[in-house]
């Protein structure tokens, strides 16, 4: 038995939308916020469905945005 909730396969939002991929930039914190939890942590790929290539880019841009105060660093605690 499969443990997945349903058989639907997630597709990478960046691959299916080139416009979104072009917006992937550390100077665009509103867009990056969608891939960060409310505690400031980066959403894992198994949740968001982002492909490995774009997850690497996404992580890089989120970290750049953090360094100049556009996004928060992860809050302490659980």
């Amino acid at each position: 038995m499969s443990r997945k909730s349903n058989g639907k396969k997630k597709t990478c939002p960046f691959l299916s939308d080139p416009q979104l991929a072009a917006e992937l930039d550390y100077k665009n914190p509103e867009m990056l916020k969608r891939y960060v939890t409310d505690r400031g942590r980066i959403v894992p790929r198994r949740i968001s469905g982002v492909c490995a290539f774009y997850q690497r880019k996404l992580a890089q841009e989120i970290k750049r945005a953090r360094a100049i105060g556009l996004l928060p660093y992860a809050a302490k605690g659980v």
Binding site: K27, R64, Y73
Partner: protein, 132 residues
């Protein structure tokens, strides 16, 4: 000679006011001039809320500089930022490598403002209209 395209973002303490911004601007230009870099554009993003506290400030004035330069330019610009008191933080990112400045299209790039700059400009204009 090939150059690289860099962008530098500088966070200025909001307490230093216009004077501080002016000083940082001249220092940035000075750094580019001494290393014969070519400025593409300098954007003033105004005062923005920070995602976390920095040197006791919740807000910061942002400057964004896009230019063609070499590793020497980055070293000089960052050295100047380090010795400028109003500067809280800065970050430089390489955007493109091996650019021939003679072939580079400065005019289109100059007009191609970032989204944040466009918003800051609209905000400043709205404020001016209210005052008028």
């Amino acid at each position: 000679m090939f150059m690289r395209k860099y962008e530098t973002i500088v966070l200025i303490s909001p307490d230093s006011g216009d004077e501080g911004v002016q000083k940082v601007t001249t220092r940035l230009r000075e750094g580019m001039a001494t290393t014969s870099a070519k400025e593409i554009r300098l954007e003033d993003w105004g005062v923005k809320r920070l995602a976390y506290e920095l040197n006791g400030n919740r807000r910061s004035h942002y400057l964004y500089l896009l230019y063609l330069g070499t590793n020497k330019t980055v070293a000089e610009v960052e050295r100047l930022m380090k010795i400028t008191e109003a500067v809280m933080k800065y970050q430089t990112v390489v955007l493109e490598d091996r650019i021939d400045p003679a072939q580079f299209d400065f005019d289109t790039e100059r007009r191609n403002l970032t989204e944040i700059a466009k918003r800051a400009k609209a905000k400043a204009e709205a404020r001016r209209e209210v005052q008028a």
